[in-house]
């Protein structure tokens, strides 16, 4: 069975890549890689489409996780194993969890009606433009064979004596030192912003005109607790700072 499957696979593989070879004139990839690629590609695309078409935001978030996993596999396939790990830990582990957390916190995990769009022309135009952007970039990409003949400027990724993580580390602390330092400012802003927005939201005055909503929102969680929780999922090293911030308030 297994060899048979394998041979079917080879035939299929040969057909697809033969076609590819005719179109692009490149050599064929090896079978295990291409199978992995296809599976991961399907996951990525299905995940992406799933995010867009799910009625329930929780489902969207889960589809997003799937998509991110697919991307991580793509990274692995391209010798970026460290990035793949980071992708899963940061994206799937932190960012999506934060999303889910907010969805739960706000209690907005009710399905949204996506049958029709109140803005009549929005959907067809959106799809037109989406396809247009896709078509345009693919057209330009394919005609340019996606390549340029440019040479590596930041240092080689593969080969040499050091491994990938070492190379990454060296690049970050040499060529990309300034952007790396700049991210510090970015994270500070994120902390300050999150604290400010979640803290002061409690101080909404009567002056504001509430949006019309028939369902009054019951706040089940004490304020301080919520603010803290909103931030814990952020990033490890920031927690201390956040706590100090909160204490000040």
């Amino acid at each position: 069975m297994i060899p048979a499957l394998h041979s079917y696979g080879t035939v299929l593989h040969g057909m697809i890549f033969g076609l590819h070879g005719i179109v692009f004139g490149t050599t064929l990839p090896t079978l295990p890689d291409s199978v992995t690629f296809f599976i991961a590609a399907v996951i990525v695309l299905v995940g992406g489409i799933g995010v867009v078409v799910s009625r329930n935001p929780v489902h969207s978030a889960l589809w997003l996780v799937a998509c991110l996993f697919g991307i991580a596999v793509m990274f692995l396939l391209q010798d970026a194993s460290f990035l793949a790990a980071v992708q899963i830990i940061v994206y799937a582990g932190a960012i999506v969890v934060l999303f889910l957390f907010v969805i739960m916190l706000l209690g907005v995990d009710r399905p949204e009606s996506i049958g029709s769009d109140p803005l009549k022309a929005q959907r067809p135009l959106a799809i037109l433009f989406g396809l247009g952007v896709l078509g345009g970039s693919l057209l330009l990409g394919f005609t340019a064979k996606w390549e340029s003949g440019a040479k590596s400027q930041a240092g080689r990724a593969v080969g040499g004596s050091t491994n990938e993580v070492q190379k990454l580390g060296k690049a970050v602390f040499s060529i990309y030192l300034l952007p790396f330092e700049a991210t510090a400012a970015l994270l500070t802003i994120a902390v300050v912003g999150a604290v400010l927005l979640t803290m002061h939201a409690n101080r909404t005055t009567e002056n504001s005109k509430p949006y019309e909503d028939p369902k009054p929102y019951e706040d089940p969680v004490p304020d301080g607790y919520r603010s803290r929780q909103g931030l814990v999922a952020n990033a490890d090293e920031e927690v201390d700072l956040v706590d100090k911030e909160l204490d000040v308030k």
Binding site: P29, I71, L138, A157, Y176, L187
Partner: protein, 101 residues
């Protein structure tokens, strides 16, 4: 021989377009936000692919920065969403259209 870069890049373009369409058609702010993440991931995939094609570590480093930016955006974005939810009791983007004209 490994997978040609063009496959990844095509996939990235597809994912990017899915993200674009998602932002345009969805009304839930959180889902729109997730669609932005899809687009960022498409960019990441492109960067890693080009890093491999060029045999250049730079592209991989850039992915780090995109990740950091994404994280910061998420924190602030969700903060904004939470803060407006307290007032508007809604995460539907279409409900927010007092400012117009």
């Amino acid at each position: 021989m490994s997978i040609p870069g063009s496959w990844y890049l095509t996939l990235a373009a597809l994912l990017f377009s899915i993200g674009v369409v998602g932002i345009l058609v969805r009304r839930n702010v959180l889902i729109m936000f997730m669609c932005i993440e899809l687009m960022l991931n498409a960019a990441n995939l492109t960067l890693v692919t080009y890093a491999r094609m060029l045999n250049d570590i730079g592209g991989q480093v850039l992915v780090f920065f995109v990740l950091v930016v994404a994280a910061a955006e998420v924190v602030v974005g969700l903060g904004v969403i939470v803060s407006i939810f307290r007032r508007a009791k809604s995460t539907t983007a279409d409900d927010l259209h007092i400012l117009k004209g």
